[in-house]
């Protein structure tokens, strides 16, 4: 079975009319498996949206290959099976949510007979039943986002691209949308989320890749990326003697008001450090494995460190 998304050596350069060139995506390799929620991270200008547009066939790669559901990006048959929610979507303001959904349903050539039922279901699903017939210009950002998600679900897509789906939303809308995404995964759909809301990805994402300057800086399963071998040892009443005793084993240690905090890159020398603490006058407070937040990972990655 083909992967949901397969990107090989994708490079996208924009030509500046004045002669310069901007490389938005640089030799990117990326694979998204079916059924996963894939987090696509990166600072502004990293090339996330460019990559998504290439995958949708809105932009054309300079070099490299992009396959979506096993077919070249932009293939009309593929488009029947995918969906896309752009960042801060807008629709025709004079229309109501229902009319917008009818419009997109017509683009999918969904027959008139089933159209109303489908749209009603979707409106209920995104919690818009009550406001369904108001014109969009009266909608809040969250409501627009819900309409956006509803239009993305019209065709029961196998693969959904969400570009910053939660940015600027109130907490309730935010939570609702996260839940919706998880529901999609439960239904077996593949979700490709680009987001700044790192905590969302951490909470819902299966795998994540971080794009920096158009290059893939890091990629992996969320759990693996966030779990490290780093250990943290904390002791009270420590003195300089202890510090010199353990110095050879730890990556970093400091004493602040008698409390010692020491980091170990691996657990290899943990025994030796703990022994040294126990042998000293100090009291061992805690020994913990250290887990990174995605945010720290992101910042580290972007800054080029780990």
């Amino acid at each position: 079975m083909a992967a949901a998304i397969e990107i090989q050596g994708l490079t996208k350069r924009y030509k500046n009319p004045l002669g310069g060139e901007l490389t938005a995506v640089d030799n990117l390799d990326l694979t998204v498996e079916k059924g996963e929620i894939f987090g696509f991270l990166g600072p502004n200008g990293a090339g996330k949206t460019t990559t998504i547009k290439v995958l949708l066939g809105l932009l054309f790669p300079t070099t490299g290959k992009a396959l979506v559901l096993g077919k070249p990006a932009g293939d009309i048959e593929v488009k029947k099976r995918i969906a896309y929610l752009p960042e801060s979507p807008y629709f025709y303001e004079y229309m109501s949510a229902r009319e917008v959904l009818y419009f997109y349903a017509d683009l999918f050539k969904i027959p008139r007979s089933t159209r109303k039922g489908l749209v009603d279901d979707l409106l209920a699903r995104v919690g818009m039943t009550n406001a369904a017939d108001k014109p969009l210009r009266q909608y809040s950002k969250g409501m627009l986002q819900r309409v956006g998600i509803a239009q993305a679900l019209l065709n029961e897509p196998e693969l959904i691209f969400l570009d910053e789906p939660t940015s600027g939303l109130d907490p309730i809308a935010h939570a609702d949308i996260c839940n919706l995404i998880l529901d999609l995964k439960v239904q077996g759909k593949t979700v490709f989320v680009s987001s700044h809301q790192l905590s969302d990805i951490e909470a819902i994402g299966d795998r994540v890749s971080i794009l920096v300057g158009g290059k893939l800086a890091m990629q992996g399963a969320v759990k693996e990326l966030l779990t490290t071998q780093q250990m943290e040892v904390i002791a009270d009443g420590a003195g300089d003697a202890l510090v010199s005793a353990i110095k050879g084993y730890v990556a970093e240690c400091e004493i602040h008001a008698g409390r010692l905090t020491a980091f170990l890159e691996t657990s290899e020398n943990l025994d030796k450090v703990v022994d040294a603490v126990l042998k000293s006058d100090a009291t061992l407070v805690s020994v913990n494995p250290r887990r990174r937040t995605l945010e720290k990972l992101f910042v580290d990655t972007v800054r080029g460190g780990r």
């Binding site: 932009l59 009309i76 995918i82 807008y90 025709y92 004079y94 419009f103 997109y104 683009l107």
Partner: protein, 283 residues
Amino acid sequence: MAIWTIARTTVGEAMRKKVLNICLIVAIAMIVISLSFTQFSFKQDMTIVKSLGLFVILLAGFVISLLMCVSLIPNEVERRTIYTILAKPVNRYEFVVGKFLGGLLTLAINIGIMGAVFVLMVTLKAAFGTDVQSTAGGVGVAVEAAARKVQAFDPQLVLGVVMIYFQFVVLSAVVMLFSVFLTPTVNFFASAGVYIVGSAAGIWKSMYVSGSEANPVVKGFYMLVSNVLPNFDRFNIQNKLIHPVQEFRGGPMEYVGLTVLYAVLYSLVVMIAAVIVFERKEV
């Protein structure tokens, strides 16, 4: 059908554009106001009502088609609606053609409304004009005046409005082509330029036909301009409408029919170019 869906939405949106609504309202007001020019003799009244009315429709049609069509595609990009639409199983050509047809429908509605008001006003004026001049040299004036009230409706006026519409079909196609690769502001001036130069096609043609221009490069340029640019000139039949006594050579239907055919063919060529360019357009 995706084309029709997009066209319909385009009409719905364009008909709600304030700036276009204002154009329409001002135009209608001017057509009605032109009725009040009564200080001249009857025939000159009619000349001014017809001339001004057709001109107002022409001008409003020009502004509407230009303002509307320059932003049809760029607006979709700016609002990002184009992304959701093209992410759906919609061919790019369907999008362009749908937008174009939507624009044409909007234009048809606008020009149709203005045209209806215009024909109505002229008919009323012809039927109830106070000072009716006779062509029959004073004989049977009363009979003629009575007949005139019945025959006041001149179906050729409708042809005039149709011709105005079709020249903006051509212009809209040109604007659509330009909008695929030019910004709206540049497009506005480029298309307006094409319209103005194309409206003077007769001059360019006479420049190289008459042989008054000796320089072959300049002559070739005139030839190119008059043959490649759309010839908006020939859509203007206001003189014929102002003076119904003038005949169309080969009859009005032949002239109008050929000109409409010209408009359709020209728009077809331009739209094929637009479709081909848009196919590789990065949005």
